[in-house]
C-alpha cells in the first residue's frame, strides 16, 4: 500500500520534472531559431557533446561532481527549513583549505587525500556553521548572512592566494600543486586509453555523500530532528528537541558538504587553487540542482548530471556548431524558472492535482465547521 503510493508519487514527480525540462528545451529551441540556427542540430550537438563519447560523458560527470555536493548541501539545509545561499562561499573555503592542506609534506598518500577532504569539510562546516549560529542565537536570517559570507570567502581567498599561499616565485596568483598523494586519481584512461577525461574518484566521494545524507536524514535521530525542526519548530520544541542546536548542526553539515564539493574540484581537477575572478557558480547552480532533485539525494544525482550535461554539452556545441553557449544559459534559466514556479506548473498540467487539493481543503473546512 505504502509502496504503491510512493511509486505513483515518485512517478508523478519524475513526470513533472521531465515535462519541465522538455518545455525549457522547447523554449531554448525558440531562441536558437531566433538566433538563426537549426534547433534540432543544436540540440544534437549538445547531446553529443554531453554524452557522445567516453570522454564527453566523463567531462559531464566532472561538472556534475561538485554540483551533487552543493545540491546536497542546499537540500540538507532546506530539510531544516533553512535556505543556504552560501554554498558558494562554503565551496570556496573548502577549495582553499584543500589546496593548503594538500601541499603539506610527509603525509602517506591515501591518508593525505582523506585529510584534505576532512579539512575542506571542516572549513565549509565552519563557514556554514557561522550562519547557523547567527540564525539560532540572534534570529538573523541565513539568506542575508550566507550571501555576505560568500563575499567574505571570495575576498579572503583572493588575499590568501595572492599573499600567504601564493606559489613560488609569486608571479601568478595560484597555490602550489598539491601532493600526488592528496589527489583523486583520474581513472577514465585506465579503461579507455585515449579518453583523457578529468573524471576522478571525487565522483564516488560525491555518491558516498549522497548515501550519507540519505542515512543521516532518514535513519538517525539527528535526521529526525532536522526534519522535525524543518517542518514545525514549535512541535520540535514540544518534542524536547534543542532547536538552536539542530539549526546550527544542519547549517554546519550543509556547509561541510559544500566544502567537500570544493575539495573534489581541487583534488580531482585543478590540483591547486587559482585566484577566482568571480564566484565559480557551483553553489548557486546547486540550488537549482536541489530544486530539480526535490531535495532528495537520488534526485540530486540526476539534477547534477542534467546541469553537468548542459554545461559540458554547451561548450561542445559552441565549438562544433558555432552556436553561442549562452543559449544553454537560457535553457538553464528556463528550467530553474519552471521548477521554481512548480506549484503554478502543477496547476497548469495536473488538473487532478488541483482537484485533490480542493478536496483536502474542503476536508479541512468541513472539519473546522
Amino acid at each position: 500500500m505504502k509502496q504503491k503510493r510512493n511509486l505513483s508519487h515518485i512517478g508523478r514527480e519524475v513526470a513533472i520534472i521531465a515535462a519541465t525540462v522538455f518545455v525549457a528545451l522547447l523554449i531554448g529551441g525558440i531562441f536558437v531559431f531566433i538566433a538563426g540556427r537549426n534547433p534540432l542540430s543544436a540540440y544534437a550537438a549538445l547531446l553529443k557533446g554531453a554524452f557522445g563519447s567516453w570522454y564527453s560523458l566523463g567531462e559531464t560527470l566532472v561538472y556534475a561532481t561538485p554540483l551533487i555536493l552543493t545540491g546536497l548541501a542546499i537540500a540538507l539545509a532546506y530539510r531544516c527549513n533553512l535556505f543556504n545561499i552560501g554554498a558558494e562561499g562554503q565551496l570556496i573555503v573548502g577549495m582553499i583549505a584543500a589546496a593548503w592542506i594538500g601541499t603539506w609534506a610527509g603525509i602517506p598518500p591515501v591518508l593525505h587525500a582523506v585529510l584534505v577532504l576532512m579539512g575542506a569539510m571542516l572549513a565549509g562546516g565552519i563557514w556554514g556553521g557561522i550562519a547557523g549560529v547567527l540564525k539560532a542565537k540572534t534570529g538573523a536570517h541565513e539568506v542575508i548572512n550566507t550571501i555576505m559570507l560568500n563575499y567574505l570567502a571570495l575576498y579572503f581567498s583572493h588575499y590568501l592566494v595572492t599573499k600567504p599561499l601564493i606559489a613560488p616565485p609569486g608571479t601568478s596568483p595560484m597555490t602550489r600543486t598539491i601532493a600526488g598523494g592528496a589527489m583523486f586519481p583520474q581513472f577514465v584512461q585506465w579503461f579507455f586509453p585515449h579518453s583523457y577525461s578529468r573524471l576522478n574518484m571525487g565522483l564516488f566521494v560525491a555518491l558516498l555523500a549522497c548515501l550519507a545524507v540519505y542515512l543521516l536524514l532518514w535513519k538517525t535521530t539527528l535526521g529526525y530532528e532536522i526534519r522535525a525542526v524543518g517542518f514545525n519548530q514549535e512541535a520540535a520544541r514540544y518534542g524536547g528537541m534543542k532547536v538552536s542546536r539542530t539549526i546550527i548542526l544542519a547549517m554546519a553539515f550543509s556547509g561541510a558538504l559544500a566544502g567537500l564539493g570544493g575539495a573534489t574540484v581541487v583534488q580531482g581537477v585543478q590540483h591547486k587553487f587559482f585566484d577566482l575572478f568571480g564566484f565559480p557558480g557551483y553553489g548557486f547552480d546547486g540550488i537549482a540542482v536541489a530544486l530539480i532533485g526535490r531535495n532528495h539525494p537520488i534526485g540530486i544525482i540526476f539534477g547534477a548530471i542534467l546541469f553537468g550535461a548542459l554545461y559540458n554539452g554547451a561548450q561542445q556545441m559552441q565549438s562544433v556548431s558555432n552556436i553561442p553557449k549562452e543559449i544553454i544559459g537560457v535553457v538553464q534559466g528556463t528550467i530553474i524558472l519552471f521548477v521554481a514556479v512548480e506549484s503554478a506548473f502543477r496547476w497548469l498540467i495536473l488538473p487532478r492535482y488541483r482537484k485533490a487539493k480542493a478536496a483536502k481543503e474542503a476536508g479541512k473546512i468541513g472539519s473546522a465547521a
Binding site: 500500500m1 505504502k2 538517525t220 522535525a228 518534542g239 480542493a358 473546512i365 468541513g366
Partner: protein, 513 residues
C-alpha cells in the same frame, strides 16, 4: 416566532460536492422572519458549508436559494451583503489597531473628498448602535476591547450594512458564560426587532437557551427541524450523533494521594515579554484532576508552558514530587514523568508532514528502544505506533500514513495516545477536545478520567466550563495571570466561576485542597 408563513429565506435541495465528500446532500432549510434558528451538527456535518453557500463563499452544485420567495443567485459575499445577508465569522475579521468606528465603516466609509469623514462615520455608527441597543465605545481600538465586544462590533458591522439575515458561526466559542447570556439577549432583541438569525453551533445547551427552532444536520443531510419547546437536549444529541450518547461522565469520587505538582508564587512573561503569570500557586495531587477555567489569554497557555518546561518562570518555584524543576528543559521534565497534551495539536502537538509513526515518538524518539546510539530504529517505532493506533482506536490506514490526512479527532487521538502511553505521573492537558465531535470528545474524556483513576495527577486547562465541570475534582479560575480562586467542583456554580472569569468580584481565597 414566524411572523408570516412566507419564510424570509429558504434554501431548497442544496447539494455541494467536494471531490472526496458530499458536504451537503440535498438540504432544505427555511428561516422565518424574526426567529432565531440554530443550525446544529457535528464537525463535518455540513453546517458551515451550507452557510458559506448562503454567504457566497462556496457555489452550490444543485438547489436554489430564495429570499422572500424569489429565487436569487449569490456569487460572493458582496452579493450576499447586498441582499441583506450578514455573517459573523468564528474568527473575527477585524483590524486590531483600527478603532471600532473605522472597523465598522471599512469598505463603505463616508468620505469627504478622498478622506474618511470621521465625524459622519462616528455619527452613523452611533445611530445604528443606538437603534439596536448594541452599545460600544466607538473610539476604542479593537485590540483593546474584549472578545465579547469585538463580536458586538462584528454584529454591528453586519447591521450597518443593512443585514436582515444574520449568520453567526459558533458565536459562543470565545465568550465567558456572562457574555453568552448577554449575546443571547442581544440576539433576542434583534429578533424582536424583525431581524432573522441563524447561528451555527454544536453545543446543545445553547440551542436550548437561545433558539426558537433548530435544524439538525448529520453527514451532509438534514435530520430534522424542531421547535425548541418540543425537543430536549437528549433528543437533539441523538439526532446529531445518530445514536444514544452519554452526555455526562460517570465519575467515581476521587481518592487523592500524594502531592505531585506544586507551584509556589510562579511568575512568567508571555511571548511579548509582558507579565502573563502573576504569583501563581497551586497543587495537584495523585489521582485528582485540577481544572483551570478562564477566558482565553489569561495566562493558561503560559501556565502549561511553565509546568512542562517550555517556558522558564521569572520567579517562584515549581516542584514535581518534591523536586524543584524550574529551568529544566521540556525533555528533562518529560523524562520525570510529565506528559503534555498541548492546546494546539496542529501547531505544537504534531508535525503534520510526518507519518503517524513518526509523530507517535515525537517526545520519545531519542530514548531506547527507538534510538540506538545515533540511529533511529524505525522497525521499533513502527511496531510501537501500530500498537498505539490499535489501543487508542486511531482510524488510519496504517502507521505510515501522513498525519495531515487525518481528521481532527484522529489527530488528537495520536497526541493523546503519545502522551498517555508512558503512564505519566503528571498529565498536563490543554484544550483536549477543541474542534472534536461528540464521539471523540466522549473518548478523550474517558481516557483522561482513566488516567486520574490510575493515580496520575491531571492538570486540565479548558475554555469549556461544561467540560471542566464534568471532569474535574477541583477547579481554579485564572484571570489576568492570577488565580482568582480555587474550589471543590461540587461546591461551586458555573455562574460564580463565570463571574470570576470575567474579572468580577474581589479576589477569592477559596479553599485549596
Amino acid at each position: 416566532m414566524p411572523a408570516s408563513n412566507q419564510p424570509v429565506l429558504e434554501m431548497r435541495g442544496i447539494v455541494k460536492r467536494f471531490p472526496d465528500v458530499l458536504a451537503n446532500a440535498g438540504i432544505d432549510f427555511a428561516l422565518a422572519k424574526g426567529e432565531i434558528h440554530a443550525l446544529l451538527g457535528e464537525n463535518g456535518s455540513g453546517k458551515t458549508t451550507l452557510m458559506k453557500i448562503l454567504y457566497g463563499l462556496f457555489t452550490l452544485d444543485q438547489g436554489g436559494i430564495y429570499i422572500n420567495g424569489s429565487s436569487v443567485k449569490i456569487n460572493g459575499p458582496r452579493d450576499a451583503i447586498s441582499r441583506g445577508i450578514g455573517m459573523v465569522h468564528q474568527h473575527f475579521m477585524l483590524i486590531p489597531p483600527f478603532t471600532v468606528v473605522e472597523n465598522i465603516v471599512l469598505g463603505i466609509e463616508p468620505r469627504r473628498g478622498l478622506a474618511l469623514d470621521r465625524a459622519k462615520a462616528r455619527e452613523e455608527v452611533l445611530r445604528v448602535s443606538e437603534k439596536f441597543g448594541l452599545y460600544v465605545d466607538p473610539d476604542a481600538r479593537v485590540e483593546n476591547i474584549s472578545l465579547g465586544m469585538q463580536q458586538r462590533v462584528e454584529i454591528l458591522k453586519a447591521l450597518f450594512r443593512q443585514a436582515e439575515v444574520l449568520i453567526l458561526d459558533e458565536p459562543t466559542a470565545v465568550l465567558t458564560p456572562q457574555e453568552v447570556t448577554e449575546l443571547a439577549s442581544i440576539l433576542r432583541k434583534l429578533a424582536e426587532g424583525g431581524k432573522s438569525i441563524i447561528f451555527i453551533t454544536h453545543k446543545l445547551r445553547e440551542v436550548m437557551a437561545m433558539a426558537d427552532r433548530v435544524t439538525v444536520l448529520r453527514r451532509g443531510e438534514k435530520v430534522g427541524t424542531m421547535t425548541r419547546s418540543e425537543t430536549s437536549i437528549e433528543q437533539l444529541a441523538s439526532m446529531m450523533v445518530g445514536r444514544e450518547v452519554e452526555l455526562t461522565m460517570h465519575k467515581e469520587p476521587s481518592t487523592p494521594g500524594a502531592e505531585i505538582l506544586r507551584l509556589e508564587g510562579v511568575c512568567a512573561l508571555n511571548k511579548r515579554r509582558l507579565p502573563a503569570l502573576k504569583n501563581v500557586s497551586l497543587t495537584v495531587r495523585a489521582g485528582e484532576i485540577l481544572g483551570i477555567a478562564g477566558v482565553e489569554g489569561n495566562g493558561q497557555s503560559e501556565l502549561v508552558e511553565v509546568v512542562t518546561g517550555m517556558r522558564a518562570p521569572t520567579s517562584g518555584s515549581i516542584f514535581l514530587e518534591g523536586r524543584r524543576i524550574n529551568g529544566l528543559s521540556p525533555r528533562e521534565v518529560h523524562s520525570l514523568g510529565v506528559a503534555h497534551v498541548p492546546e494546539d495539536r496542529q501547531r505544537r502537538g504534531l508535525v503534520l508532514d510526518f507519518t503517524v509513526a513518526e509523530n507517535m515518538v515525537l517526545t520519545d524518539y531519542a530514548f531506547k528502544p527507538f534510538a540506538k546510539g545515533i540511529s533511529q530504529d524505525w522497525s521499533e517505532v513502527r511496531g510501537y505506533a501500530r500498537n498505539l493506533i490499535q489501543e487508542y482506536d486511531v482510524r488510519v490506514p496504517g502507521e505510515d500514513t501522513s498525519t495531515i490526512s487525518l481528521s481532527g479527532g484522529n489527530q488528537q487521538k495520536v497526541v493523546v495516545a503519545r502522551a498517555l502511553a508512558g503512564g505519566p505521573r503528571l498529565l498536563v492537558v490543554a484544550q483536549p477536545t477543541r474542534g472534536l465531535d461528540i464521539g471523540a470528545i466522549e473518548y478523550v474524556h474517558r481516557r483522561i478520567l482513566a488516567e486520574r483513576n490510575r493515580g496520575a495527577a491531571v492538570l486540565l486547562i479548558s475554555l469549556e466550563l461544561d467540560e471542566l465541570m464534568s471532569l474535574v475534582d477541583r477547579i481554579a479560575v485564572m484571570y489576568e495571570g492570577e488565580i482568582a480562586g480555587i474550589f471543590d467542583q461540587a461546591a461551586v456554580t458555573e455562574s460564580r466561576l463565570g463571574l470570576l472569569m470575567a474579572g468580577g468580584g474581589a479576589r477569592v481565597g477559596g479553599q485549596t485542597g
